[in-house]
């Protein structure tokens, strides 16, 4: 006959299986903090070194000449920030997954990535098309909006709190689409400050 503690263990195993087969809970707060730091450094480089600060949706021919070389560098800068952030997230999350006796790469994390990926890829393609047409001023608002939507969807497959971070990004994106001249500032607020604040919040809520 089973003992009392066996029943309790059964119930807690049922609960943990239901949780890990629907939600990826090994996201690390450190991943968010570091992603925010990279974003702030990236924004600083874009502003100070590449002199990127679009103040109109479309560039006039004069400023376009000024930026043609800059845009390629800017896209490369954005890509390196992205690769660093994703790499760090994978590093911290796989470490956390190992600590929680969970696999980092399982059906849940795959589902999370696929669902996040759809809005991100659509947004990415749209942004590249707009850049090629010279609508550089829309890059910051649209990256914020599509990233925010992707987080909003992702919250179904990980911490609920991600939904709030997603909404913050979308709202910042919408505001910055109205105030185009402050695009880089809003971008730094969303990808930098919001990530860091969220990372600290997750770290203290779930990792201690």
């Amino acid at each position: 006959m089973k003992q009392q503690q066996d029943y309790i263990r059964d119930i807690s195993e049922i609960r943990s299986m239901m949780e890990k087969s629907t939600k990826f809970l090994s996201l690390s707060g450190w991943a968010g903090i570091m992603a925010g730091v990279y974003a702030l450094i990236g924004a600083y480089i874009a502003y100070k070194v590449l002199y990127f600060n679009p103040d109109e949706i479309i560039y006039s021919s004069a400023s376009e000449r000024h930026y043609t070389g800059g845009i390629v560098k800017l896209v490369l800068l954005a890509l390196s920030v992205l690769v660093l952030a994703v790499g760090t997230a994978v590093f911290f999350s796989s470490r956390r997954a190992a600590k929680r006796n969970e696999k980092f790469w399982n059906a849940t994390s795959r589902r999370l990535l696929v669902n996040m990926g759809v809005p991100l890829v659509i947004g990415g393609i749209l942004i590249l098309i707009l850049i090629s047409k010279g609508y550089v001023g829309l890059v910051a608002p649209l990256t914020l909006i599509f990233y925010g939507l992707s987080l909003f969807i992702a919250s179904r497959y990980t911490f609920e709190d991600v939904k709030i971070l997603g909404l913050i990004q979308v709202v910042l994106g919408l505001i910055s689409s109205y105030y185009i001249g402050y695009g880089l500032l809003f971008w730094a607020l969303g990808f930098g400050v919001a990530h860091i604040a969220y990372g600290i919040y997750i770290h203290f809520k779930y990792e201690r």
Binding site: M1, K2, Q4, Y7, I8, D10, I11, E13, I14, R15, M17, M18, K20, S21, T22, K103, W105, N106, A107
Partner: protein, 99 residues
């Protein structure tokens, strides 16, 4: 039905079978590999437990092809859901009655 003394169904006595049922209770379908990752079980072990649950008609299989690779998806049947919820209810009562 095979019921043991305390009212708990025998099919749920193993940790792996209970795990399979818990995962399928909250996912529409899961394939073999997903279950394997969640349960950290070997192929043979998992397959035999799945067979047992299938025989009990608590879960059912949906076979299809992804390209040329066969893809086996498992899902919980109505009977399975009822039995699992009943199992949970009894477990909770057993824990409560002792407090």
């Amino acid at each position: 039905m095979k019921i043991s003394v305390n009212g708990l169904h025998k099919a749920f006595e193993s940790r792996i079978r209970l795990g399979i049922m818990s995962a399928l209770a909250v996912n529409e379908t899961l394939d073999f590999n997903a279950l394997k990752e969640y349960l950290d079980a070997t192929d043979g072990n998992l397959a035999s437990h799945l067979k047992a649950l299938e025989k009990e008609e608590f879960i059912a299989v949906e076979k299809s092809f992804v390209g040329r690779k066969p893809n086996t998806k498992y899902f919980m049947t109505k009977e399975g859901k009822t039995a699992f919820l009943e199992h949970l209810r009894i477990l909770e009562n057993l824990v409560k009655s002792h407090k």
